[in-house]
Symmetry: C2
Subunit: 355 residues, 2 copies
């Protein structure tokens, strides 16, 4: 039976890397005999917004809910639509309405990729950031008072629920259990953020009782970001709230030199709703339209999607193909962010060819 | 007339580095003919808490308010007192009650200090983080509902006021104006945190109108942390909310390899209340009692204090003394965190001797 994939390319380089993501998926599907059926949607982009006055049609939920997965490019183009409108009108809706409460991002030093950190080599850094993806600091609850006066005050609430915190912790503990080092690091800030963060810490302690074989530590977010730079080899699975996870899952790939090529998965683990797979990078208006965007983030996200659909071998094959092409270091093939003079298409094709 | 300095050493290595901070200050005071008068206080430590059931005596405000400055070590010892109690009971009270609304931290690559970033040299990185220090994410407003049940929900409010935001922005713009590059970077997250952060952005735009000669840019906090690692040379003055500033002012010194030696100033710019000067590092229970803590953070904080009191030349002399001792690289003098086998006292004395 075919797996149905909804494709939303979004804005800017999202539309350029998406075809390469699909190319790699089709190559892997052919090799491993997987039946994938892609359906392309135009909504979820700033151009759609300019035409329709909204990012998504009213029935988007109905249109998308029965797909097996969403394959997403990048959204946002601040000159056309302010970010908080484009994001809250699309990506953040999917995460919330489809209850994709896990955001999962690998931070891995890859062969042929230059890390900005001194003396680190491929294999030295290999961890996951597990981010809570539906609540916490990303609430839309709050408001403004005494607007336009000197007394103006703006309030926004961070909201954590036991359900929300426990389920992301559970996922992170389960993930740690599948890894050789069996280590979990919790991001907190309970010394400064005195209500929600001590609660987060409490739930970590509670959850850890069910996983006696996992070594647990915690760091306040300030020193944790420092330790990503100083001791990236310390980490195995790092779990954080929506905001802390967001920060760590950009900083982690920055430390491994993969910020431009890292993938991410927005997962509804129960499979009640489709999960969403997207590169970490944004729509990059500054390089859009030039055909030079690196498609690896999109392709690697496709690998995470295949793994989620149950095809671990095919997923691994894609990651291996990426690593091979990076190791070869052919400057005619590689895009300029990784030291080459190639194009989105040349790099995408080289990876597909390996498959 | 004498400048009165209240000394609070706090916990752990705070009590070990403080004498070296005072030694350097006394040496500089002698050389530059400055009259400093130190008064030592025992409160503000976890041991005080264990004895008195509180971190500070009831009349701490009265006792401290007329000093010209507070010279602070480090507070916190989680095994004795949970961090959110020790910190909210001391340091965070000072910041708030003495309206120290600026937290200022230099991020500077120093000679002889190894940066974890590849290929960066002394002089390459030199910026300030200006952090809002009294409101924002560090509110104590919020609470818990359905406690102890599956429906448990915890809420904490981020509160920004026009007064609070504008005054830190003003300070940051003024600081940028004193620097050759005249560049200001604002930390935001208006694409995800949809009420307070767009407000922050608005105020930056408004404030920038008064400073047409300053080049302003902004980054979302996730990619900003990545850029600290990838492009630390981009930054000159970086301004952020209480939480974002907290993160950036640990990450910045981590990138320059100075996290263990960076200073910070908690400033009430109007001088209505005393300002507070403290090293960035914490009380480090793991190395406390061994006499091996690096005292440079405390000494450098003393330099910031002298500058605040109007003695720029004396402050510069202390920083120069630190740089000289680091450049010489005498392993009998340096503490082990910077590659030596010396002690807190040997390093402190070497710096004082240069003065
Ligand atoms: C100890 C903690 C409450 C404090 C803060 O978050 O402000 C510290 O990290 C700092 O930066 O001074
Ligand atoms: C674009 C933005 C709203 C989003 C987030 O903060 O979640 C992005 O940074 C991400 O990490 O996917």
């Amino acid at each position: 039976m075919a797996h149905t994939i909804a494709v939303i390319a979004g804005d800017g380089i999202g539309t350029e890397v998406m075809p390469e993501g699909i190319r790699a998926l089709e190559a892997a599907a052919k090799r491993f005999n997987i039946d994938l059926e892609f359906s392309v949607f135009e909504f979820g982009s700033c151009d759609y917004y300019l035409e329709h006055g909204k990012m998504l049609p009213d029935d988007w939920f109905e249109q998308l809910k029965d797909f097996d997965a969403l394959f997403y490019g990048a959204v946002g183009w601040p000159e056309k639509v302010p970010d908080h409108i484009s994001l809250w009108g699309s990506l953040l809706q999917f995460r919330r309405q489809f209850d994709q409460y896990i955001n999962l991002r690998p931070c891995k030093l890859m062969p042929g990729i230059k890390s900005p950190l001194a003396g680190r080599e491929a294999g030295d850094i290999d961890f996951y950031v597990v981010r809570e993806n539906t609540e916490g600091e990303y609430s839309s609850v709050g408001g403004k008072m005494f607007e336009g006066t000197d007394r103006e005050v703006v309030i926004q609430e961070t909201i954590m629920t036991r359900t929300g915190v426990d389920r992301v912790l559970k996922y992170a503990f389960e993930l740690a259990q599948t890894r050789p080092r069996k280590k979990l690091t919790s991001a907190t800030k309970s010394n400064g953020i005195s209500i929600t963060m001590p609660y987060w810490d409490e739930r970590v302690v509670e959850m850890s009782k069910g996983y006696p074989e996992i070594a647990v530590d915690k760091f306040h977010i300030d020193i944790l970001t420092a330790n990503f730079v100083l001791h990236p080899d310390w980490f195995d699975v790092v779990v954080g709230s929506n905001l802390f996870g967001d920060i760590l899952s950009d900083l982690g790939p920055a430390c491994t030199g993969t910020i431009g090529i890292a993938p991410s998965a927005n997962i509804n683990p129960e499979g009640k709703f489709p999960s969403l797979f997207e590169p970490v990078h944004g729509s990059a208006p500054d390089i859009a339209g030039k055909g030079v965007a690196n498609p690896i983030g999109q392709i690697w996200s496709g690998a995470m999607m295949l793994e989620h659909l149950g095809y671990k071998e095919a997923a691994d094959a894609i990651v291996t193909a990426i690593e091979e092409v990076l190791s070869e270091g052919d400057s005619q093939v590689l895009t300029r962010d990784v030291g080459g003079q190639g194009t989105t298409a040349s790099l995408g094709r080289a990876i597909a060819d390996k498959l």
